[in-house]
């Protein structure tokens, strides 16, 4: 296994603590407690090992990474090892002093999330009163500190109709890039799928809006558009292929091929506390399980696109078909494709159920359990 190509990027989930409660959060339903977080020195050792292994970029994520008081030390460490540093944040815990400390530490780029175009929707979806206004202030502070800014917009049936205004917000806040990502249905997003699933019409309209805006705003705003899977004909190359490009490390130090991989039963993830990152990347059972093309069933195995989409998303195969080893049902060649399409059509038709907000201990005990109604905040 010495010929495994090195990873390009590391997603460092430094904490699961987060003041927001977005119902599409990709964190696991069972959020680990804060006291199990890796300490500063361990993260620094991990970044050193990551750089040696060939990692080029570190994305500081969570939870809310700025909930950690040592974040500037972590950023400084990663920069020292030559890694390109990116902060993925909700922004609500940031202020001028913290932003300045991060910039001094060598932070290269900030991705700031918005939940909607305006406060009413944004604060309701994020489950955090005053959040939207705070984010606008933080966006301005980020730009004043000379840091480049991407706005991250996760889109779904409850905010897609405001997409034009969301793009306008990105331009007004002097972002250089906007990431418009349709919800991916695992973790809390899967629990809330019926409340989030857009109609096919909404998806088509959104895609047309993005196409037009991308052309109109050339040289002003770069667009990154993550298309939705449920109405797709072909799967995405999820994570660029299992164990090919990305490493994800959770707050407790477990190393995974993607941030949702823990939903897959029967996979054991090794920890940076017990093994070197290089050992885990090249030879751990979890990384080898779906790496390459050997594991593939038909129709993937004999498909011309097997080294383009790498069989799609394992977590989605699990969520929809019950087996992570199946072809991603987003593919129209999958025998389960109709099941996925039908789910989308049924769930997006009719009024959305109430959100199950992401909070520690907030996961429903049974899949059917839903609170009676949505609380407006």
């Amino acid at each position: 296994m010495t010929n495994v190509a090195p990873p390009l990027a590391l997603l460092a989930e430094v904490t699961y603590r987060c003041p927001l409660q977005c119902p599409y959060c990709s964190n696991p339903l069972e959020l680990e407690r804060a006291k199990q977080e890796l300490d500063t020195d361990t993260w620094l050792r991990v970044f050193d090992e990551a750089a040696d292994l060939g990692v080029l970029q570190v994305h500081f994520s969570g939870g809310e990474p700025t909930a950690r008081t040592d974040l500037d030390l972590l950023v400084a460490g990663a920069s020292r090892f030559g890694l390109y540093t990116n902060l993925i944040t909700s922004g609500v815990l940031l202020n001028e002093a913290k932003i300045s400390a991060l910039a001094t530490a060598g932070l290269e780029h900030v991705q700031l999330s918005f939940q909607d175009a305006e406060a009413a929707g944004g604060d309701r979806i994020g489950g955090y009163k005053g959040g939207h206004e705070k984010k606008i202030q933080v966006a301005k502070l980020v730009r004043m500190a000379g840091l480049p800014l991407t706005l991250n917009m996760v889109v779904h049936r409850q905010n897609l109709d405001h997409l034009e205004d969301m793009i306008r917000l990105a331009v007004d806040l002097d972002a250089h890039r906007v990431e418009i990502a349709h919800v991916q249905y695992y973790g809390w997003g899967l629990t809330n799928r019926a409340a989030l699933m857009p109609t096919r019409k909404q998806v088509e309209t959104a895609t047309a809006i993005v196409d037009r805006a991308r052309e109109r705003l050339k040289g002003v705003l770069v667009f990154d558009y993550v298309v939705p899977d449920y109405y797709a004909r072909r799967p995405k190359s999820c994570m660029g292929g299992w164990g090919r490009r990305f490493l994800n490390i959770n707050p407790a130090g477990k190393v995974m091929p993607c941030h949702a991989a823990e939903t897959i039963p029967g996979l054991e993830f090794e920890s940076v506390c017990d093994h070197s990152l290089s050992e885990i990347w090249t030879s751990s059972e979890a990384f080898r399980r779906f790496r390459g093309v050997e594991w593939m069933p038909e129709p993937c195995r004999s498909c011309d696109r097997r080294e383009i989409d790498w069989g799609g998303c394992r977590c989605q195969a699990l969520a929809v078909t019950g087996d992570a080893g199946n072809t991603d049902p987003a593919c129209e060649l999958s025998p389960n494709h109709h099941k996925m399409l039908q789910l989308a059509e049924v769930e997006s038709d009719g009024p959305p159920p109430a959100f199950v907000y992401r909070r520690m201990g907030g996961a429903p005990r049974q899949k059917e359990a839903q609170p009676a109604r949505d609380e407006r905040l």
């Binding site: 060939g54 970029q57 290269e108 770069v222």
Partner: protein
């Protein structure tokens, strides 16, 4: 809201500060690090990009490449403008 979209021979292309052109020892190749992106320029693109230092004009870059590669200036001018436009649209270069 509108960007100046024309690139002429007096334009001075330079890297946007958070776009990092670097040589990766591990993979033994040049690359541009961008937020959640990696651009892998080919040899021709690299010759042009390495001259985008915020001082040289498009004209200077073209003259330099014309001398170095002994090719028709008009062809090189066309290539350089196209590439600079493309990387500006991608948010890598400013002019």
């Amino acid at each position: 809201m509108t960007a100046d979209r024309t690139i002429d021979e007096n334009s001075v292309p330079r890297f946007v500060p958070h776009m990092k052109l670097k040589f990766d020892e591990k993979r033994q190749r040049w690359m541009i690090l961008a937020p959640e992106r990696l651009f892998l320029p080919d040899d021709t693109a690299l010759e042009i990009l390495r001259r985008c230092d915020g001082i040289a004009t498009i004209r200077t870059i073209v003259d330099d490449l014309t001398r170095r590669f002994n090719a028709p200036s008009e062809v090189i001018m066309n290539d350089v403008r196209k590439l600079v436009q493309d990387f500006r649209d991608k948010g890598v270069l400013k002019t």
